[in-house]
């Protein structure tokens, strides 16, 4: 057989990039530096219609100035862009669609803009590629969604374009690596340009342009939970989790969700955890943002390591002073990295535990509501059983050994199972039910014409559900009927719970598939806020020996 090679140019991307960058030379001074007022012109020069463009929008830090400038470009010059970015938080992220500058979107998470995305989808202003998990989207940066132009954000730059992203590195390395090594263009907004950087997080030759933004980039203290707002019911569920799951399986390596339930657990370790003699036996290694609520547990010697997706405002000095625990650079400040942390969260933790809005009788859970396209960020990567895992731990093996489907699906091979735990209250605030016969995700899929229902954690991955009524050990269930019965058995007086058959529930209790506070030996009258190691933000400052510097909005003093 004869092979027919094709004839073509093999470096069109490189040439195109060179031409675009060259055309922008009028706006640069000292090599790569561009004045803020020339940013719109720069973007109009280096971006072309239909380009894949990434605006660095992380869970926390935002390339807000570049996002604003992209909204101001002439739509005659730039249109139909394909935005590929992990998080849409700022109004500008959607304004580009409103104005026709962008047309298509691939993303992970949208928080505050979720309502507008749904609206735009309905009106045809936006074409949605897919809603990904973080790792999934980063993966596609290197496969079929490589940005042509990336608008990134760093804390500092030097004249050579070297960047310091430091504490808030987050997504930057993943974006730049994908963009630059496929001959793309990287534009960075920075808070300041300095002579010498504390350390280099992104080498200068990977960066084409640097703009000093008029204001420091916007960052949201997303992971700060004021202990003063934790309720007695959250304390109760936290105690149930610690005794019924953490202690039961000896969970050492884990990820915590963002909510108040897990903040309560963090604050119960030095008190309730200590009473149960669990120090050193659980919660030693975290994949977690630097949660201020973890400070008391760290200070009491519970925690050995924490790797962070991103930073958290106010935790800089504390983290820097605890370099045995956190991942701190030679310059003394932490480096976060969402891609690596997500990898750790996917493969190297034994348990994911977090909250949700709704759980259905099959155990599918979702935070989706009917009119908001929000996505789930990284939760599904951690809230699943990673089939590629090949190392074993005690907790993982124990859960695998209890897995009722193991003989049927695994044969005689020894395997383990990730614990995927959802904490829910049967009714949330305003008495919204936490258990529903059909997730709102179904209505959303219909409203926003999505091909699949946005489910955060699939029922078959879920191993445990905690409510105030008890813990359901779902992986112990023999079949879907039993799984549904177990969920109904702890769903209280919701429509799902009211269908529970008391006899079946009693049988499941006997078998240890459902355990209540009484089964666990927890005195419900002792579950009060007085159990918390810190009762307010100020207590956290005291625990940190003054190193934690909470943002002004959390300072009640």
């Amino acid at each position: 057989m004869e092979f027919k090679g094709i004839t073509r140019e093999w470096d069109t991307l490189k040439k195109d990039t060179k031409a675009r960058v060259g055309a922008a030379s009028a706006y640069t001074k000292n090599g790569k530096i561009v004045d803020a007022e020339n940013t719109v012109a720069l973007l109009e020069t280096v971006i072309k219609p239909f380009d894949k463009v990434n605006i660095e929008g992380n869970n926390q830090k935002q390339a807000d100035f570049l996002a604003k400038c992209l909204c101001e470009v002439d739509v005659k010059k730039i249109h139909d862009l394909h935005m590929v970015q992990s998080v849409l938080t700022l109004p500008e992220h959607l304004d580009v669609f409103e104005k026709g500058i962008a047309k298509k979107l691939d993303m992970s998470f949208s928080g505050p803009q979720a309502g507008r995305i749904a609206e735009f989808l309905k009106e045809g202003k936006l074409e949605l590629g897919a809603i990904h998990t973080y790792l999934e989207l980063y993966g596609r940066y290197f496969v079929d969604l490589t940005p042509r132009v990336a608008l990134i954000v760093a804390t500092m730059a030097d004249a050579a374009g070297n960047l310091f992203t430091g504490f808030s590195t987050e997504d930057t390395p993943a974006i730049v690596e994908a963009t630059k090594f496929r001959q793309g263009i990287v534009i960075a907004q920075v808070n300041e340009i300095v002579e010498k950087l504390p350390r280099v997080d992104i080498p200068g030759d990977w960066v084409d342009f640097v703009v000093q933004s008029p204001k420091p980039f916007y960052i949201e203290p997303l992971f700060t939970r004021d202990p003063a707002l934790i309720t007695d019911a959250q304390v109760l569920k936290g105690m149930m989790a610690i005794k019924g799951i953490y202690a039961e399986y000896g969970i050492k390596r884990l990820n915590h969700g963002i909510g108040f339930d897990t903040a309560a657990i963090e604050l119960l370790l030095p008190t309730y955890g200590e009473q149960l003699g669990l120090k050193g036996k659980i919660c030693t290694n975290f994949i977690l943002n630097p949660h201020p609520s973890l400070i008391p547990a760290i200070e009491c010697g519970w925690v050995e390591s924490v790797h962070c997706f991103g930073g958290e405002l106010g935790m800089e000095n504390y983290v820097a002073a605890r370099s045995d625990i956190f991942f701190v650079g030679p310059d003394g400040s932490m480096r976060s990295n969402r891609a690596f942390s997500q990898t750790g969260g996917h493969y190297a933790v034994d348990m994911f535990i977090g909250g949700t809005l709704q759980i259905d009788p099959y155990g599918n859970s979702s935070t989706a509501t009917a009119n908001r396209v929000a996505g789930f960020g990284g939760a599904p990567n951690m809230g699943c059983d990673p089939k590629g895992r090949r190392h074993s731990t005690e907790a993982w093996l124990k859960c695998g050994a209890e897995y009722s489907k193991a003989p049927e699906l695994w044969g005689t091979v020894h395997r383990g199972k990730r614990l995927v735990v959802q904490i829910a209250e049967t009714f949330r605030e305003k008495l919204a039910p936490g258990f529903v016969e059909e997730l709102d995700a179904f209505a959303l899929a219909k409203n926003a014409k999505l091909p699949i229902e946005p489910v955060m954690i699939y029922g078959d991955d879920l191993t445990h559900v905690i409510t105030e009524d008890g813990i359901a050990y779902l992986h112990k269930c023999e079949n879907m009927e039993e799984r549904t019965a177990a969920i109904r058995g702890i769903a209280g007086f919701t429509e799902v719970g009211l269908k529970a058959d008391p006899k079946t529930t009693a049988k499941l209790k006997e078998r240890g598939v459902i355990r209540t506070t009484d089964d666990l030996g927890i005195d419900i009258t002792k579950a009060t806020r007085s159990m918390l190691a810190a009762k307010n933000v100020h207590d956290l400052v005291v625990w940190s020996k003054g190193l934690y510097n909470p943002p002004a909005r959390f300072r009640n003093w």
Binding site: G546, A552, R555
Partner: protein
Amino acid sequence: MKKWSELKDSSFFDASARERAVGLVDKGTFTEFLHPLDRYCSPHLVVLGQAVEFDDGMVCGVGLLGRHPAFIISMEGRFIGGAIGEVNGAKMVGAIRLALTAAKEIKAKYPGEYEAKRPLVVISFETGGVRLHESNAGLLAHAEVMDAFQDCRHIVPVVSVVGSKVGCFGGMGFVAAAADVIVMNEQGRIGLTGPEVIEQEMGKEEFDASNKALVYRTTGAKHKYIIQDCNYLVEDTIGDFHKVLGEIAGKSMEEIEKMRRIGSIDLVREQQELVKLVGDMQPKDSMDVWKHFGNENPAALPELSTAEFLKTVKRRARS
């Protein structure tokens, strides 16, 4: 509820109105008036479909501080923000007037012992002022309280105690200021206009209501202590408040009168000087005022513990 001995070491800030009421007086001496079993709820809330409370969000009663009957009014911020309506407003006025009744009876029965047995009124504020669901009645009740305060002048000391979550705002902000003595913990806040309204009036650039540190610098206890609007700044335990109330109960009426900030033409003049200072200085932040009064590093003050703060702070000199 916690026992008195446990309350003593408990946080005042976290305590419920009833816990504060019981813990502010001597052990085992508190008798509550219109307690929950009396079931005196607001009839107006019922009509509007708003949740009610048996004590209408206010715990009133009498206890002892040594030999001094202490008439306690304690507001519950968790119930509709501690706001004042007809029933709890009447409870407040009623309690103050009972103190005057007691004073009269003591004077009649124990003429030589009035100083030693002189009653006092202690109000633990936690309120945003008027309860909007019954705003007209609430407003009228505020006026009755001020009227009753004036009746107490030189006879029965009135002590404001402020150190709970909601702070003391709206009309109750001036009620607190009109007392003889003000005791606060670090978390206490007193003001007239709430931060959100100031932001609305002046713009976010001038006053960002979500910046709690700024809110505390403007209305918080440390600021109040510096400008002499707070007489005692104490640690956040019910026991510390109880102790200082015991001291106040024993002071002469003359000493009490000296602690006032308003209520006479001389005090008006003194306050006008402060207003002039603020008008001339146009401070961007309370810290400018702190610096003016001799605090070289004002930004450090919020971070200090109460004890450290008391050691180092410089206050406005009283004229």
